[in-house]
């Protein structure tokens, strides 16, 4: 069996020599000997190589090169794939391919003529152009060709429906595609796990190795590693997707550069970073929020309900808002989420029903927040991003930017007429979230609610350089031992979070008026620090914590005829 690591290999060889082959695939385990700096994909995919397999390993990136160090026991061919596609590179690559051809023939003791190879190459080229046509016209056919040529499993469903989501970036698994499909939409996989990796501009010439070299180096959509620019525009022009999901891998150097290009286009997109360890829950929120953003608000339903309930099940607290048919707030409450998000939501709901004296038949529930999936009595689910945008825009119709700082995550959204036009989220580390303040509060022994006020009493402007909670902790302790006052340190801590948020604000090109929401919005220290950094005045709603739930309730109400 031949194992290859990336589709920049000469598949023609494997077919012509009739040797079974497969691609490495990320598994469940992580390879602990590769340093954590190495890309998440490699760290799990290296485990899938078995000792008796013959490797055709390309040096497609630093992570792949370092992974190869661990595979020395296998018989292998290490193939340098040039990053350029000019004549000099094509010729060099052709000679490398020729060496690989000889290697495979000897290793597997096969004798196949160059004529036969030539024919196989021609067959491959024909099949791949058929594949390109089939991608839009006949997914079933595309699947068959793709699997035949590359021996990889097709990712995603074959029935076209909903909106067209173009998936770009690094090797993506079916989990990513599933998120799109569960929202009722169709994915076109243009990552290197999809058919587009096999499509090239070919020019066949007299030397078969040069022809194959050209096929590989002239990929229609160049990989991120190539010196050539990735022509996303032409790809997008061809498929006209409704939205784009840019799938990047943690510690991969290449694909996040696409974001710069996507920002110049008009197609809504979202970037997700996959570390192949968590269950992609954070990516789910981002993708769903993006899809909600472009959703045509469907036909209004003939709802008989008179109570419209929004439940925002966050990681620390659950909020409920109940509206009547005129959109007036009848009830509003917050409680801790605890270990069972469904349970806390149910309790709030029961409490509302008892207080307002209505029953389940008479209400329409929209759930949002991280725990939205668990709330089985909800009629609809929406991401908290969309709900925040709707809720805040209801209170402040002119709002253009929303900064929401929650306990475990923070998000900055640019909105226009109640719809999100761009957003970024931070939910992977404590930096820039309420969690960071909690840590500071416990080190300095200042109650959370008092921290902001205290920070404003600072006498000098200290600087905490780190926003990583672990590092900041030791920095704070050392400041403390140097005798700085609590107030001064608090000031520095608030500025540190504000700096993170300001970067996010810049990333989406935020514009005033800006509304600050979330549990941390009531912290004057943070508000102050942010205003200083951004140079704009921030508006804080009376109930900054319930805007998500309010938005959810409003989304329900909007559906009533």
């Amino acid at each position: 069996m031949i194992v290859y690591n990336c589709p920049l290999v000469p598949f023609e060889f494997f077919h012509a020599l009739k040797i079974p082959f497969r691609r490495i695939e990320p598994g469940s385990g992580e390879f602990q000997y590769l340093h954590p700096n190495v890309c998440a994909f490699c760290r799990t995919a290296v485990c899938s190589v078995k000792p008796d397999e013959v490797l055709v390993w390309t040096d497609s990136c630093d992570s792949m090169r370092r992974s190869y160090d661990f595979l020395k026991k296998n018989r292998s061919f290490y193939l340098h794939v040039p990053v350029k596609n000019d004549e000099i590179s094509v010729r060099f690559f052709a000679r490398e391919l020729q060496r690989l051809w000889e290697f495979l023939k000897t290793t597997f003791k096969r004798e196949v003529s160059l004529d036969q190879l030539e024919k196989t190459h021609q067959w491959f080229v024909d099949r791949s152009s058929e594949l390109q046509r089939a991608m839009t016209e006949d997914p079933y056919r595309a699947k068959a060709i793709f699997e035949e040529l590359s021996n990889q499993k097709w990712i995603g469903s074959l029935e076209k429906r909903g909106r067209l989501v173009l998936l770009l970036g690094s090797w993506a698994s079916d989990e990513v595609v599933k998120i799109v499909e569960e929202a009722g939409d169709f994915t076109l996989n243009a990552t290197c796990s999809g058919p587009y990796a096999l499509i090239s501009d070919v020019q066949t010439g007299p030397d078969v190795f040069e022809s194959i070299a050209r096929r590989i180096l002239n990929k229609r959509l160049p990989c991120g590693r190539f010196a050539r620019e990735r022509h996303l525009q032409s790809l997008i022009g061809r498929f006209r997707p409704d939205v784009i999901v840019l799938h990047t891998v943690k510690f991969c150097d290449f694909y996040h550069f696409d974001e710069g290009m996507l920002r110049k286009l008009t197609v809504p997109f979202v970037t997700i970073e996959n570390d192949f360890t968590n269950a992609l829950e954070q990516s789910r929120t981002r993708i769903e929020a993006l899809l909600e953003r472009v959703r045509e608000r469907g036909d209004r339903k003939n709802l008989r309900s008179s109570y419209f309930i929004g439940i925002d099940s966050g990681s620390t607290s659950t909020k409920i808002v109940v509206l009547n048919e005129r959109g007036e707030i009848l009830f509003e409450q917050i409680s801790r989420t605890g270990a069972d998000p469904r349970e806390s939501a149910k309790r709030l709901m029961d409490h509302a029903m008892k207080t307002l004296k209505f029953n389940e038949e008479n209400c329409f529930v929209v759930a949002t927040g991280y725990g939205r999936g668990t709330i089985d009595f909800a009629h609809e689910r929406m991401t908290e991003l969309t709900c925040h945008a709707v809720g805040v825009s209801h209170l402040y119709p002119d709002v253009r930017t929303i900064i929401d700082v929650g306990g475990q995550d923070s998000k900055v959204m640019r909105v226009e007429k109640g719809k999100i036009v761009d957003f970024v989220m931070n939910d992977k580390c404590a930096a820039g979230t309420g969690r960071f303040l909690e840590i500071v509060s416990s080190i300095l022994e200042v109650p959370l609610e008092k921290m902001g006020k205290e920070s404003l009493k600072a006498k000098q402007q200290l600087n905490i350089s780190s926003v990583c909670a672990v590092f900041a902790e030791s920095e704070i302790i050392s400041l403390r031992s140097k005798g700085y006052s609590r107030q001064d340190i608090l000031f520095a801590a608030h500025s540190a979070i504000a700096r993170r948020l300001a970067t996010m604000y810049e990333r989406i090109k935020g514009v005033p008026p800006v509304v600050l929401t979330g549990g941390v919005a009531l912290n004057e220290g943070l508000k102050n620090a942010l205003e200083r950094l951004l140079g704009v005045e921030l508006i804080v709603p009376k109930n900054p914590v319930t805007t998500g739930a309010l938005g959810a309730a409003l989304m329900g109400l909007q559906q009533k005829r």
Binding site: H35, V83, K84, F251, E259, C468, T503
Partner: protein, 416 residues
Amino acid sequence: MSKKSVAYGKLIRFFWKRPTTARKLLKFGVELELARRKTVAAVKNDFSSWIDLSALSIVASAFNDEEIALVNLFFPTEIMAGFGLKCVSAEGLAGTLAAMQLEDFALARAEAMGVSKNTCSFHRAGLGLNLLRMLRNVKAVAVTNMLCDGNIPVFRTMAQLHGVEPVVLDVPRTFDESGVEYVSRQLENAVYELENQLNRKFDHRRFEEQLKMELEIFETLREIYPKLCERPVKLHLYQHVNLLYVLHVRPDVYMLKAVRSLRKQLETQVEHIDKRFFWMHLSPYYDNVLNEIFSKHSRYTVVACELSWDWMDWKVDVSHPFKSIAEKLLLNPLLSGVDKRIQFAKRLTLDFRADGVIHFNHLGCKQSSGSVEFIKRAFDELKIPFLSLDGDCVDHTNSSAEQFKTRVEAFLEMIR
């Protein structure tokens, strides 16, 4: 790296919202320091003063309106000498910002265009500086993927910003005849491309002069190597970074003076060194506790840094310049599998009689730290203490002094 730079950085920080002023201040500060280092070097005439001067003179070109070529650390800069362009490396500029603790502006700028926080901060800060329009007279952008592929998209983006076509040098991972031919053809082609782009002729004489200079620098180092191994000179940790930076980006007349004075120094002075260390990959360039632990005045001395000697298998051949440069790149012991690198590291460690080895894992640098496990095993076999230290060379907010301290001190206790 010094408190002075940090203080000056604070001043610039104050004016950061006004790029023209900030740039002027940066230029002024660098030139002032350059003048100081010139005097120091002239008076002291010793190895470390000349390398400090040489390193800063490279950075100074970036801000004093000379015509520059923006390159990465491993790009063969000799070519640019033939076009009269001064080379400045993006990594070096990132380091300069870090020394003043101003890198956060550049990092934030790169992040704002979507560049992931998990990628090498040399790249991010280098790119950010360009996005901030701090570099004015960039005539060429050139990059090689020889050690690190992450360079390519970064330099592609920088070239776009400056409206030029990037010169890209693709380096295969093994040294053989076809590889040498491939790289030398690319070099010749690069000269041709640059002639068109710059609309000027390539000056072979200057190109050869540069190579001759390198011949003298590297041959002198080779000649004094045995002595240096025996009695290394004391340098601050950050000066090793200066040294490797100069040796790669611009081995110039200052560097020549540095090696000449080193030869003299070795004849006379004997410095007492308590414990010797061999350093692998780079080290943080901002003011940090590692520079204190491994300062010139400490009992713990870094005697050699891997990247200052990666040219050792190479001999300059002025009569076949392109081929010779191709050989330099392909003979780099860090280029291919980890085994070669290990052999090289062992050799230096044993030659310099190091008591311990430290490998710095710069965040996001896969090529250097990916298989550090094997390097560790190799030194374990030799029974030489080895420390694999994680951190960030540029982003000072991404490391913790306390963590460095605890780890390194525990390691030093092992050796004592």
